[in-house]
Amino acid sequence: MSNETTHALALAPEDLPGAESFFKPHRIVLIVLFGALVTAIALFMRWDWLPRYLPRLGTGILVSLAMLFSTSILGFLLAVPLGLAQVTGPWFLKAPARLFCTVVRGTPLLLQLWLLYYGLGSLFPQFPAIRQSFLWPYLREAWPYGVAALTISFAAYEGEVMRGAFAGVPKGELEAARAYGMGRWTLFRRIWLPRAVHRALPTLTGETVLQLKSTPLVATITVVDVYAVISKVRQETYLTYEPLLLLALIYMCLTGLLVLAFRYFENRIPTRGA
């Protein structure tokens, strides 16, 4: 997926408004109207359930964030060999890497998640070796399947980005490194990988926001993230809109904070000659 498309799907740092942009007459009117709407929602809708669920909501948000960060980091670590194999690997590495990216990017994440959870989950208990292994207490839980599915998905999308990034490093830089007498491994470690990661960084913001937007899917396999907590609220209070509005607000805040953090880091990375 090109950077422009990711930008169309996920909020980007340059979309955040500056402080001075709020002081325009029509914006002040809009903000007042919006404030009135929020007040009306706060006054006329039912929010008495909120204090009871606050601790659980906090835990849910932490679970969502843990899912996001663990799968993004693991996925990125997987994406590097995936991208490299597609650019420079021999055919028996290139073909599986390509196939992996195509299959994962061509099927819905929800389906992959259910395949892993229900499919593997129903397969594992049939093997006594797995039931007796030290992994079994974890394999009986839902979260390893959620982490696996989200990691695989992130790796496939970012692997495609890394493929482009590895291929896009100027040939002259690699030749210069070789002319200095660097070995293949040194060249990769000192020149190729850092330059490729640098080229891939702008897409990382978008991919991470997209990953955050994918995390609520794990609630469908009984992982208790913030989405699952809100579903629980809806079941117990018979309210439809209030919990969902709160959930949308929570995700907007999380996305906003994530984008702010990325903007901070992006500004610290020198980009001259990129």
């Binding site: 090109s2 422009e4 809009l30 929800l110």
Partner: protein, 239 residues
């Protein structure tokens, strides 16, 4: 497990679930097509509103695209699904018509369309901005009305820039239909889960559904390649 895979479960007629799966697949494609078309209409309107609209319209559209790009599709689908059907029934109640049962198909198309609308607004806005301003100014100088400028100059000229993004959006639309399984709409992913639950052949059915989705993606990619080649035929390759 006597034989490793019981292929007869995929048979098209009654004891097998193949027919049900294909029906769900068809339903998924219908929603994806409808939602994508609705999204394109919203996107064209949104992109022009964002580029040429007044300050209030521009801010409202900015809110729309920001919210859709910051909130997970799953949450939006739930909100729009309940709010959309509820709102329509209340409006009909005001008009004196009793509540109607809104078909899942229409609700699904509406939901996917609103989400896709925000994405295509962004894609199309970028593409329109890539059209050299001089071309549009020249069209205006010829005395073309705004509608004619749109039809004759802006839309055809931005198309090569928009097609890669729009193609990705189509692939995303086909995959987003799977999310409707969560609101209980019987598209491919949900019927697959039902079939798998009933027969306990989880692996077989999920892999079969995955193959269907993948086939849709690959066939779409073929068409996209042809369309892209056709749209770029007048452009100088910049490499």
């Amino acid at each position: 497990m006597d034989s490793l895979v019981n292929w007869s479960l995929l048979a098209l007629s009654a004891p097998g679930w193949g027919g049900v799966l294909l029906q769900g697949f068809l339903r998924s494609i219908e929603i994806a097509l409808g939602g994508y078309a609705l999204g394109l209409l919203l996107g064209i309107g949104g992109a022009f509103g964002k580029l040429y609209g007044g300050p209030v319209l521009r801010d409202l559209l900015e809110c729309y695209t920001t919210i859709v790009r910051a909130v997970p599709e799953l949450v939006l689908i739930l909100l729009l699904y309940y709010a959309g059907t509820d709102l329509l029934n209340q409006l009909l109640g005001f008009a004196g018509i009793g509540p109607v049962d809104i078909s899942g198909l229409l609700a699904g198309i509406f939901v996917i369309g609103v989400v896709q609308g925000a994405y295509s607004t962004e894609v199309l806005r970028g593409a329109i901005k890539a059209v050299p301003a001089g071309q549009i100014e020249a069209a205006r100088a010829y005395g073309m009305s705004p509608a004619k400028v749109l039809r004759r100059i802006t839309l055809p000229a931005m198309l090569p820039h928009a097609i890669p993004g729009l193609a990705n959006l189509w692939l995303i639309a086909t995959k987003d239909t799977a999310l409707l399984a969560v609101v209980g709409f019987a598209e491919l992913t949900l019927v697959t889960r039902q079939a798998a639950g009933a027969t306990k052949a989880y692996f077989l059915f999920f892999c079969a559904a995955g193959a269907l989705y993948l086939a849709l993606t690959l066939v779409s990619n073929l068409f996209i390649g042809v369309i892209e080649w056709h749209a770029r035929r007048g452009l100088v390759e910049r490499r």
